[in-house]
């Protein structure tokens, strides 16, 4: 039996320290008494509230390359229009909501979405829009526009929505 136990440690790629523990555990009979832990759980339900913002600049969306947050020339065309609108409506504040495609880890994608949102903000600031009129945030990969797992769907999901 001991030989077999030793082998197990290798299959588990475990350190020999656990083997030593095992041998000592085997040398005499183990007697235990324990009580099952109490497990009360209280569930919380958040009241549904709409987070939909008023669409001032409907359909203004800019897209990004995989793993990238720099603006493409096509994005800049869209942002020129947004800059114009912001100048003509000096009271509005907009939210720049960054998103990522599903590939990669969720937290890294949340950060990537934020970088995309910041890229858009930086362009607008460079073009004379005040920082306090811009809200940057990210949903990472949590809110895909397109549900497939293919290049087309992914390209639609790597975006900043301007609302």
């Amino acid at each position: 039996m001991d030989e077999k136990n030793t082998m197990k440690k290798f299959t588990n790629s475990f350190l020999t320290i656990s083997t030593l523990l095992l041998f000592s555990a085997c040398s005499s009979m183990q007697v235990t008494e324990e009580s099952v832990a109490d497990q009360s759980v209280a569930g919380v339900s958040l009241a549904t509230k709409s987070t939909a913002t008023q669409a001032v600049l409907a359909n203004a969306v800019v897209y990004f390359e995989y793993d990238q947050f720099n603006l493409t020339s096509k994005s800049i065309q869209v942002l020129k229009g947004v800059t114009e609108l912001m100048r003509n409506n000096s009271k509005i504040t907009i939210s720049l909501e960054g998103h990522a495609d599903e590939r990669g880890t969720r937290e890294y994608n949340l950060a990537l979405g934020q970088r995309r949102s910041e890229s858009v903000a930086n362009y607008l600031i460079a073009n004379g829009i005040k920082r306090n009129r811009l809200i940057t945030k990210s949903y990472g990969e949590e809110r895909p526009l397109s549900l497939g797992s293919n290049n087309l769907a992914w390209s639609k999901n790597r975006r900043v929505e301007i609302k």
């Binding site: 523990l21 183990q30 008494e33």
Partner: protein, 427 residues
């Protein structure tokens, strides 16, 4: 001979072979052979217990359990078990037990006999109440696993994960769920119409931290499991994410977006004071503590692609040390419980995402899964199992493997499940 062969296979990676995968199906070729005699007492309870214990042990990949129809009656002579009966059946261990049920209590007694050494190696009692049958079974499984393998069992641990369902109008509902380590006994901790990600256990298993988008922006909340009491950890207006509890329960590492960029901070829970840990133009996130609490690992994009870095917290102004070098995407790392290695998400050359393992002593990584979009690995507290998220036919579900050969899947009872987090030992 088989033993010798296996030893060689598993010793070889210690050399310098660059592409040897950990052959996790090998472990189960030489499992512990055990017989579990039906427990005396209430037959229905005995059957219930038996099924749960059987699943718990099979999931480890380290056991072969004798079919029920092949079981022999327990024969005793001069107060001693007749070991030869079980030796003839090729068993390594025999488990017997009894159930004592009253109106308000249900107790399980079990014994483990080593057939080769011809001795009783364990005699244990587990006390519970009637609605705790699953827990009683998990405690029993852990006792059996510990006595036979010498490693602490994880049947009585718990899992956190996120469930997403869609209604007929495709509107999502998100739930933070709590379940036993086998996916049974599901409980809802939080229901929201906005996404929930990154659940993290407090080391004592009494609280959870997670990211909720309920305010329209990512924020970290702490929630007490028993009372449901919850609070946002910081009253900042910017995005906060990626919580990870220190092993002593006193600190929470977080990702803050104060300058618009993801940076890692450590918050002392007592007074919510923050210490900034990274200061980089690139993304720094996904921090996770070492088992002793003296280091954190995290993902950083500072080299141009996501890679894993380590920070030694004992040093003054520590400098982050890069610890992943293979491939162009390594992220969401966590330490194995004895710090002998790390488990993380790795993008292979074909662009697919897998769960990988790197031992500290080795200079290569071991890719452990083979689906397309494996993510969010979480290591069981005994270091023997990993649970992670997979995507199958566009549906997210949980899958797991033990380092000794077994694989398992936990599909959602409804909708999709992802973001698993394994608790610490709870017994």
């Amino acid at each position: 001979m088989k033993n010798l062969l296996l030893t060689i296979i598993f010793l070889m990676p210690l050399g310098c072979l660059g592409e040897l995968f950990l052959e996790i199906t090998k472990g189960s070729e030489d499992p512990y052979r055990i017989a579990i005699s039906p427990f005396d007492g209430d037959v229905r309870t005995s059957n219930q217990l038996h099924n749960i214990i059987r699943n718990d042990l099979m999931r480890t990949g380290e056991f072969s359990i004798l079919d029920e129809e092949l079981l022999l009656p327990i024969r005793i002579k001069d107060d001693e078990l007749i070991y030869s009966d079980w030796k003839l059946l090729g068993m390594d261990y025999l488990i017997t037990g009894s159930i004592i049920k009253t109106k308000n209590s249900i107790d399980v007694n079990y014994e483990i006999y080593d057939i080769h050494k011809k001795k009783k190696v364990r005699s244990s009692k587990v006390f519970g109440i009637p609605n705790q049958i699953r827990q009683l079974a998990h405690y029993t499984s852990d006792g059996i696993y510990e006595s036979i393998s010498g490693i602490k069992g994880i049947a009585a641990t718990k899992l956190l994960y996120v469930n997403e369902t869609k209604n007929s109008k495709s509107i999502s509902a998100y739930k933070l769920m709590l379940a036993d380590s086998d996916g049974a006994n599901e409980k809802v901790l939080l229901t929201s119409s906005e996404p929930i990600i990154s659940p993290s256990w407090s080391p004592d298993g009494k609280k959870v931290a997670y990211v909720s988008f309920e305010t329209g922006i990512a924020k970290v909340f702490i929630q007490d499991i028993a009372s449901g009491k919850r609070e946002s950890v910081l009253s900042k207006s910017t995005q906060i994410s990626s919580p990870s509890w220190s092993p002593d329960g006193k600190y929470l590492s977080l990702t803050l977006y104060q300058d618009g960029n993801a940076e890692i901070y450590i918050m002392r829970l007592r007074d919510r004071t923050l210490t900034r840990m990274t200061n980089q133009f690139a993304i720094d996130t996904e921090s996770s503590w070492s088992p002793k609490g003296n280091k954190i690992i995290f993902t950083s994009g500072r080299s141009g692609s996501p890679q894993i870095y380590e920070l030694d917290l004992r040093k003054l102004n520590p400098k982050a040390k890069r610890i992943s070098f293979e491939g162009t995407y390594n992220a969401k790392a966590s330490y194995l419980p004895k710090e002998e290695g790390i488990i993380f998400v790795h993008r292979s050359d074909d662009g697919l995402f897998h769960i990988a393992l790197k031992y500290k002593k080795e200079n290569f990584i071991r890719v452990l899964t083979e689906a397309k979009m494996d993510e969010s690995p979480s290591v069981a507290p005994n270091g023997n199992m990993v649970i992670y998220g997979i995507k199958e036919e566009n549906l997210s579900m949980l899958a797991g493997f033990s380092l000794s050969g077994a694989r398992f899947k936990l599909p959602a009872s409804e909708g999709e499940v992802r973001e698993p987090a394994w608790s610490n030992f709870l017994r």
